[in-house]
């Protein structure tokens, strides 16, 4: 579904990604792990069009999307839940959610809204509240719900558990599992490595802008290198 080939990205001349290759098959949940500053967010930003790669190609659904602006990639069905949630704080919960389904028909949006409310009943209660005043966990649910509103073919998540209480984190992972059962392909960046590797089919380890390891998630979780460098065991 998604193929990244030889991707190079830099920030004003400073290299952030150097020749990354990555593949996500339809229906897969792929985890992307690595230290701080390894380039995980950069990779997601490049795939979703927020950041323009210097070199390399991103192919999504057999089409080359490298260099397309973010909104066009989003319309093709590759949707990112960005670092820091990025809600529209001045708009209400329901307005945020509806913006998620901006390009769908009114009927589709209504149907999707009902599905999101089913996944996150709290959001139905809070639908009229301004998103900026929600608690961190609730905001994360809105961010996730907003991305689901467009019925993405590929859902990319950047550290969904960051700053979230343990109880909520657990809940979010449960929801992710459910979304996945419903057939959505996912690319997940997560520092909570144990949970991520538990959930994922496959994983890539990123280091200094390069993929240093990849493979089935359970194998990676068991590897010495990962246990030592990332899990601190």
């Amino acid at each position: 579904m998604l193929t990244v080939r030889d991707l190079h990205v830099d920030y004003a001349g400073v290299v952030a990604l150097r020749g990354v290759d990555l593949r996500v098959g339809a229906g897969e949940l792929v985890a992307l792990v690595g230290a701080n500053g390894a380039g995980k967010s950069t990779l997601l930003a490049a795939v979703s069009g927020l950041h323009r790669p210097v070199r390399g190609t991103v192919t999504f659904l057999d089409e080359d999307v490298s260099g397309l602006p973010a909104y066009r990639i989003a319309r093709r069905g590759a949707v990112l839940v960005p670092e820091g949630r990025r809600l529209f704080g001045h708009q209400t919960v329901v307005q945020n959610l509806l913006l998620g389904g901006y390009h769908r028909t009114a009927a589709e949006r209504e149907a999707e809204l009902a599905r999101v409310y089913e996944l996150f009943p709290v959001l139905a209660e809070r639908s009229g509240q301004r998103a900026g005043t929600l608690s961190g966990g609730e905001q994360q649910m809105v961010a996730l719900g907003r991305a689901l509103m467009s019925r993405p073919k590929l859902l990319m998540l950047d550290e969904p558990s960051l700053g979230i209480s343990p109880k909520f984190t657990k809940m979010i992972f449960e929801v992710l599992a459910e979304i996945r059962r419903a057939g959505t392909t996912m690319l997940l960046v997560e520092q909570n490595l144990r949970a991520a590797l538990e959930l994922a089919d496959r994983a890539y380890v990123l280091q200094t802008g390069e993929v240093v390891m990849s493979g089935p998630a359970d194998e990676l979780a068991a590897s010495d290198e990962v246990r030592r460098s990332y899990l601190g065991l």
Partner: protein
């Protein structure tokens, strides 16, 4: 202690070069001042001197503005108020027979006090709210001076023509170099005052306030107090420009001493030259005065405003091509040369704080 991770990473030291805009070194200052001192000798005609005098005078005002608006981040659109304080105080006292030197000197603390008094309530306001409030205050004073008896009202004041001497700050109009060198002296004074303020703790403090007020308070900075301090010095410096300007023109009325256009032009000069850069305002003032003068002389005779057309277009073009101001353009052009000369260091280069790649207004 330990570095953040066991893993190798791109060295952060290779991140885009120094954001930390450093203050100018002594050597830069000496070179610039020497060039300024040589200017009227190289360009000998009166029109060039006139441009130099106005550029230095407005350069003082813009440098004053830059302290508050550029370094401390409090964008004032009402600085004509302090320029006017200098101009009007000087005019008032000189008309009473005072020495202009004394009159100008007295106007400085007065402007500082006024700036602090305006800042006291207005610094509660943030961002554009502050900017618009400064417009409001300056315009109210403008209207009061225009209408209340005692300050010349709308007619303004003429200053008496007296014997030409340094003591009287009046010189021959045929050879304006004395005017120029006095202006240069005043500019040095203003620049030194601003530099001394920025050099130490206060300079760090006001820049911290500009970047993040809450965080500044959290490290023990009395935000309000330092804003007031910056405003006071900024006001005094701007008043110096006003005082000298009125001695040069020998006339002041509300539009020429207190007008909104004047406030905007200080901002414009600073931004055009490079806001928050030490020499930016002077450069901006010079370019602006020059362009204004030349376009007016060359293109206004027709009464069709071609001068304004060009002037406006130029401002738009410069802002579009280089938001860091002319100084940044200059540095970019200079950089390869400097490198070839083996002096690659770029003390004032500073890109805008690195933002995300996406558009964000």
């Amino acid at each position: 202690m330990s570095t953040p991770t066991v893993l190798d990473r791109p060295s952060p030291a290779r991140l885009p070069v120094a954001a930390a805009r450093r203050l100018p070194s002594w050597s830069t200052a000496v070179v610039i001042l020497a060039a300024l001192a040589a200017y009227p000798l190289v360009f000998a005609d009166s029109a060039a001197h006139n441009i130099g005098i106005l550029a230095l005078t407005f350069g003082i005002a813009a440098t004053g503005w830059n302290l508050l608006g550029g370094y401390a981040g409090q964008v004032s659109f009402g600085h004509a108020l302090y320029f006017g304080t200098g101009a009007y105080t000087t005019a008032l006292l000189v008309r009473q027979g005072w020495s202009p030197w004394l009159a100008i000197a007295l106007s400085l603390p007065l402007a500082a006090l006024l700036a602090a008094a305006v800042g006291w309530p207005c610094f509660r306001l943030r961002h554009h709210y502050y900017s618009i409030a400064t417009i409001a205050v300056a315009e109210i004073v403008f209207i009061l001076v225009t209408n209340l008896p005692g300050l010349g009202q709308a007619n303004g004041w003429e200053l008496p023509v007296v014997e030409q001497s340094l003591a009287n700050l009046q010189f021959s109009l045929l050879d304006k170099r004395p005017y120029y060198y006095v202006a240069l002296g005043f500019f040095c004074l203003a620049a030194l005052a601003v530099w001394l303020f920025l050099r130490g703790r206060a300079g760090n403090y006001v820049r911290a306030i500009r970047d993040d007020q809450e965080a500044a308070a959290a490290v023990g900075i009395d935000v309000h107090r330092y804003k007031l301090a910056a405003a006071a010095l900024s006001g005094a410096v701007t008043a110096l420009a006003g005082g000298y300007y009125v001695m040069y023109v020998l006339f002041v009325d509300p539009p020429s001493g207190l007008g909104l256009d004047l406030s905007v032009s200080f901002t414009l000069m600073a931004v055009l030259g490079g806001v928050g850069r030490f020499w930016g305002p002077l450069l901006g003032a010079w370019v602006l005065v020059f362009v204004q003068d030349v376009t007016r002389q060359e293109f206004s005779g027709s009464g069709r405003s071609i001068d304004l057309l060009l002037y406006g277009a130029l401002i738009v073009l410069v802002s579009i091509t280089e938001p860091g101001g002319l100084l940044a353009i200059g540095q970019r052009l200079w950089a390869p040369v400097a490198r070839r000369l083996g002096r690659g260091r770029n003390p004032e280069t500073d890109p805008e704080p690195a933002g995300s790649a996406e558009v964000k207004p």
